[in-house]
């Protein structure tokens, strides 16, 4: 038996160093996540991406595969992040055309609200004496994960930590947003959608989609505008502060 276990361990370990191994386990983990998400009735915390990340981490720890090894052998997937991010222009264009009449107030709200939420988070981190690495990974917290990862890389943050902050924000926002706005008596679908998209990006938009189409369109628009504006402004702000 122990002989077999040794053999199995060696086999799995050699597999772990095969090219595209990372693609294989990532695909498997993501598909499993999708399945669990659907059977759970689409619970926001059980997002396929969150389950996928947890499963891949467990797998790497179990087989003792270093992250650099996984990163190389899954690079094919990572490389698609750029083109897929460019494709975000398509829903942005469609939603902007649909909500044309309110574009100006939406832009202003996104600018002020987005600056506010990041400033509060940064102030708390600073007061609690967090490290500069953590501070630099925080300002992308409420924008859609692909843009957050790409921007974090650019401004000297830790992309993985930024992704974690984004996913946590999204899960919390998708759970708490609607109950809070119900308590406040905010009933307008446009306002609810915009608030969800601005603060909880794609996960907020998934929640908005459960409300109705109008709510989802505002959420999707707010999400992409917040992401694009943050990505355009943040690198300059960080550059000025750091000289």
């Amino acid at each position: 038996m122990s002989h077999f276990m040794n053999w199995l361990g060696a086999f799995l370990n050699s597999l772990a160093f095969a090219p595209l191994f990372g693609v294989l386990i990532t695909l498997g983990a993501f598909l499993f996540g999708q399945k669990l998400y659907r059977t759970s009735g689409q619970h926001p915390v059980l997002q396929p991406v969150i389950i996928g990340i947890v499963l891949v981490i467990l797998f790497l720890l179990l087989l003792d595969v270093p992250y650099s090894q996984y990163y190389q052998s899954s690079y094919l997937l990572h490389a698609m992040l750029g083109p897929a991010t460019v494709a975000l222009a398509i829903p942005l264009f469609q939603n902007a055309r649909r909500i044309r009449t309110l574009l100006l107030p939406i832009l202003c709200t996104v600018t002020v609200g987005g600056t506010f939420t990041v400033s509060v988070a940064m102030a708390i981190l600073w007061l609690l004496d967090a490290s500069s690495q953590s501070l630099l990974s925080m300002p992308t917290k409420s924008i859609t994960t692909p843009i957050a990862v790409i921007v974090s890389e650019k401004i000297g943050g830790i992309p993985a930590l930024s992704a974690l902050c984004v996913l946590l924000t999204g899960a919390l926002g998708a759970m708490l947003g609607i109950p809070i706005m119900n308590r406040l008596g905010i009933k307008d679908d446009g306002i609810r959608g915009l608030t969800l998209g601005l603060s909880a990006h794609a996960l907020g938009t998934a929640r908005a989609l459960e409300e109705n189409d109008e709510c989802a369109a505002f959420s999707a628009l707010a999400m992409s505008l917040t992401g694009v504006l943050t990505a355009l402004v943040l690198p300059f702000v960080v550059g000025w502060i750091a000289f």
């Binding site: 992040l81 991010t85 398509i90 609200g113 406040l184």
Partner: protein, 114 residues
């Protein structure tokens, strides 16, 4: 599918070029997104090939995010040091945002209606 992919990679490279020419610190993919948006606004519609590729790629975005996110396993020490502060910052800023943004939006709608 492939023609649409050509658009996306093409615009990302254009973004790269623009960023390098102007010395912008903005990521190439974001500049590519903005350039594609301008192109769509000028054209007034999404080319069918691009729409097809978008419909395939966009739902897969979360999949492409798993490899960079898994990198968090290398930062256990940082999480032990700053984890509580980060969680608190995320929760408090989120709650305050939910209290502010609905009224902010109403304010701006009224401001621009005048």
């Amino acid at each position: 599918m492939l023609a649409g992919l050509l658009y996306l990679i093409g615009f990302q490279l254009l973004g790269h070029l623009l960023g390098a020419l102007l010395g912008l610190p903005i990521p190439a993919a974001v500049l590519g997104l903005v350039l594609l948006l301008i192109y769509l606004l000028v054209r007034g519609q999404v080319p069918p090939a691009l729409a097809d590729t978008g419909a395939v790629l966009l739902p897969l975005l979360p999949l492409f995010l798993i490899p960079p996110s898994v990198g968090i396993i290398e930062y256990g020490e940082l999480l032990r040091r700053d984890g509580v502060a980060i969680a608190l910052a995320l929760l408090v800023s989120l709650l305050l945002t939910f209290l502010l943004v609905p009224y902010l939006f109403q304010f701006f709608i009224r401001l621009f209606r005048r």
